[in-house]
Amino acid sequence: MHAAVVVFPGSNCDRDLAVAFKAAGAQVSMVWHKDSSLPAGVDIVGIPGGFSFGDYLRCGAIAANSPICRSVAEHAGRGGYVLGVCNGFQVLTETGLLPGALLRNAGLKYICQTVGLKVETSQSAYTEGYNAGDVIDIPIAHHDGNYFADDETIARLQGDDRIAFTYTDNPNGARADIAGILSENRRVLGMMPHPERAADPVHGGTDGQALFRALAGALVKA
């Protein structure tokens, strides 16, 4: 598995994401936002957490229009895998690769804590290491994680089994308790919680490891 991790000014989880990919056996390339193309042979692009471009205008809006994001969209268009975590999820909704948007948390506070996540589907390269219905502990750290989409979109996500994770105790007001969603072809995942921060015993939890391991397994087979 060859993973590329995109780095924007203000990204702060890029190296954590790279470490998690490497621990799962991936070769990792770091890619700068001004680069206009991805390295050859990339299987998956990771869009990390952080505060790209200072969250100016809207979280992820400026990053979504950076040169590298055009290549990321082309990669996704070819059926490539893309994982967006936290600010990365915001970037993916801003690019239109995933539906909906992330609003300010309903309680207005920045929330940094470990939350319970219910795995809603095991039908994806990201979640096949879990069983549907499993509850895992993964940290969140965000101010704008309140997932919003119109009724029709929510119904479509539910009907197509595209909700990957929901919160067991909704911390931010997200509609339908949504913490992470998949694209139509199930190869793009955006999620607010940070699996890369629960991927090593020193993190205090390892429930995120299965995501990276499943991904590595699926992409080796591919």
Binding site: A61, P99, G107, L108
Partner: protein
């Protein structure tokens, strides 16, 4: 030539910041505020000849996220 763009959350999209402002106004004794919606104003300094259509394109592409926000353009 200048343009002023006003971006607001769409009706039906919860505006927690507006709600917090409404509560704060009530706490200060300003009764009778039924609702507060908070948005943003973006002023653009443009080359002569820029049209409203140009600014609308900017709104669609970047300045507003039309999933959650509506916008209006005023050429001034």
């Amino acid at each position: 030539m200048k343009a002023r763009v006003q971006v607001m959350l769409k009706n039906g999209v919860l505006d927690p910041q507006g709600e917090a402002v409404r509560h704060a106004l009530g706490a200060l004794g300003f009764d009778g505020v039924k609702g507060v919606r908070q948005g943003k104003v973006i002023e653009l300094d443009l080359d002569a000849g820029a049209t409203e259509a140009d600014v609308t394109a900017m709104c669609e592409k970047l300045l507003a996220n039309t999933v959650i926000e509506s916008y209006s353009v005023e050429m001034i």
